[in-house]
């Protein structure tokens, strides 16, 4: 996985899956189509304003609500490079890692970074790094999850495992 570096977008607590990707778009399956509506319920025009690699930094319980994988898919394909939050809803957290979108927990990040500043995420080192070199600690992953994320997600794992299985 390449370096994660981008501009910060700040969000509050409990950003739910219905504002990340409203229910009326769940009939879409192409990630490019989903991306056009990312965060439409909260920040109209987000998909047009985001730059590739931008980083979302939020409060607690990010991604609460639905199991819709359409939500992290929309964010990833809109260009979001990573999401940092105080905590994540359980299903959203798994979904994001499964599709290869880095999600990182940090107790302090929300208070210590500003909207629009550029930061780098050191996944293996467990830290966010500000422009002035200041490091903000992030919580670690279990080894198997970090490996899955570095490999590009669960999909990649499945491809490695099943692509050689004889097709029926």
């Amino acid at each position: 996985m390449k370096e994660i570096k981008g501009r910060v977008w700040l969000f509050g607590n409990d950003v739910d899956t219905d504002v990340i990707l409203p229910g009326k778009y769940l009939v879409l399956t192409d990630p490019k189509d989903l991306a056009k509506h990312a965060l439409e319920g909260l920040v109209p025009g987000f998909a047009d304003r985001i730059k590739q690699g931008d980083i979302i930094i939020a409060g607690k319980n990010f991604g609460c609500g639905s199991s819709r994988e359409h939500a992290p898919l929309a964010l990833k394909h809109a260009g979001v490079g990573a999401i940092v939050a105080k905590s994540f809803s359980r299903i959203f957290f798994r979904n994001a890692i499964n599709i290869g979108l880095p999600v990182v927990m940090s107790k302090d990040a929300r208070e210590r970074v500003s909207e629009g500043e550029t930061i780098t995420i050191d996944l293996e080192g467990g830290a966010l790094v500000k422009g002035n070199g200041e490091r903000i600690a992030t919580e670690g992953y279990p080894d198997f999850l970090l490996k899955m994320l570095m490999d590009g997600g669960l999909l990649q794992n499945l491809k490695n495992k099943f692509s050689k299985v004889e097709r029926k």
Partner: protein
């Protein structure tokens, strides 16, 4: 130290004698469900992997429920893709239009047994914990992995004990219990936890009522809601016995007590499920629409209590009532018992079983500035349509009383006479 029912099921599924909260295990899956919105993404992942045969065709269930019958060519294609996939692999547990209902209700009626490890590509899969199973929602790629491997990793959750004392008064329901609990704990108060409903109060609640409580465990971040099986569970699921139950000395992360005898009807105000107040303190809320249905409250008992309140009365001219039974079986039984006639005579509309307007996809979407009193489970911004609409969550009793008055109403006054 004993174990909770959740720990016992995860231990059994992973081939261990014991498991402990915080531990990671691999569990063998007993049942895996997809529906018409999350299933197509699972199939997309399987296509990308290049291999799509499920590990065990007896253990997969495919249910059309979100937009049924198809409301657009796009939806029609999603249904067609699932239909063809089921046919290709000879999946018998495929629920065609007219033989389906909201997925969690179909799983409850036909598939889930106590002690099972159940996953569904829908967050409200936690509903099925009411039958003594460990049931949780997962995403579409995760489901593709389950389809191919028959197993999944789990972090064994801590358990929050929700201890219910005494019994409910008339006009108050299990929806009010779960709203009260979420209001107390907050929308992340049960993050990653199992919410186990225990105490003498649980025994007084029907299986329908229990399904409603477990359904909303996800609204406080819960991995599942769960209830130790008793005679009602055994009768409902048709099993001989249900041995997996929490030990008396099991460890709980937290305990919350609710006195059912003093509980009054509750409502979750916009736009958060933990923004809960008693209906009596919610003020004047004009209802443009009332929705009775969904995986939370579209069961026979819900239609029964609503029909009792609406019998011989009329829906207020200033509002509209939409009733959607949660399954074909409930639809037919509600027809047999005359409930559907009651709703229609009162001036309401009755739709065929599906998720309806709950998530803003079909049958009763809200316009800008409109307010809906809904028996469903989420009131997030834009949930039922316009981002400028408001959703209030309440019980079927409260919804029925609201339909009569055209504004949020306490149902207890309709209990006598």
């Amino acid at each position: 130290m004993g174990m909770t029912i959740s720990e016992k099921i995860l231990a059994k599924a992973s081939g261990n004698k014991t498991v402990h909260p915080g531990e990671y295990t691999i569990g063998k899956i007993d049942l895996a469900m997809i529906h018409d919105l999350t299933g197509p993404l699972t199939l997309r992942v399987l296509r990308e992997v290049g291999y799509d045969r499920p590990w065990d065709i007896e253990k997969v269930v495919i249910i059309l429920d979100h937009q049924v019958p198809a409301n657009s060519t796009v939806t029609a294609q999603l249904h067609k893709d699932l239909r063809e996939y089921a046919k290709k692999h000879g999946i018998k547990n495929y629920h065609e239009v007219g033989r389906q209902g909201v997925c969690h209700q179909i799983l409850a009626e036909q598939y889930v047994k106590p002690g099972m490890l159940v996953v569904g590509a829908d967050s409200h899969t936690c509903t099925l914990g009411a039958l003594g199973a460990f049931a949780t929602g997962i995403g579409s790629t995760e489901m593709a992995s389950v389809y191919l491997t028959g197993e999944m990793w789990f972090r064994v959750p801590e358990t929050i004990r929700c201890s219910l004392k005494n019994r409910l008064k008339e006009g108050v329901s299990s929806k009010d219990i779960i709203l009260k609990i979420i209001g107390s704990l907050g929308v992340d108060g049960g993050l990653y936890c199992a919410a186990e409903f225990t105490g003498e109060g649980v025994g007084t609640l029907s299986v329908d009522s229990r399904l409603t409580m477990c359904n909303m465990a996800i609204e406080m971040g819960g991995k599942t809601g769960i209830i130790n099986p008793d005679k009602q569970t055994i009768d409902y699921t048709g099993v001989k016995d249900a041995p997996l139950k929490s030990d008396p000395d099991a460890a709980y992360y937290k305990t919350i007590e609710v006195d059912l005898a003093t509980l009054e009807p509750q409502v979750a105000m916009p736009h958060s499920v933990d923004n809960v107040k008693p209906v009596s303190e919610a003020g004047n809320v004009i209802a443009d629409q009332v929705f009775i249905g969904s995986c939370t409250n579209g069961r026979l008992e819900d239609l029964e209590v609503a029909a009792k309140i609406l019998a011989g009365r009329r829906v207020s001219p200033s509002t509209r009532l939409i009733v959607i039974p949660a399954s074909q079986r409930i639809y037919l039984e509600a027809e047999n018992r005359g409930y559907l006639r009651t709703f229609i005579q009162a001036g309401g509309v009755v739709c065929n079983p599906n998720c309806g307007p709950c998530l803003g996809g079909h049958m009763g979407i809200l316009a800008d500035g409109e307010t809906c009193i809904s028996t469903s489970n989420r009131n997030f911004i834009g949930r039922m349509g316009s981002t400028a609409a408001k959703v209030y969550l309440a019980s079927p009793q409260t919804a029925a009383a609201t339909a009569i008055e055209g504004r949020l109403a306490d149902p207890r006054k309709y209990m006598r006479g």
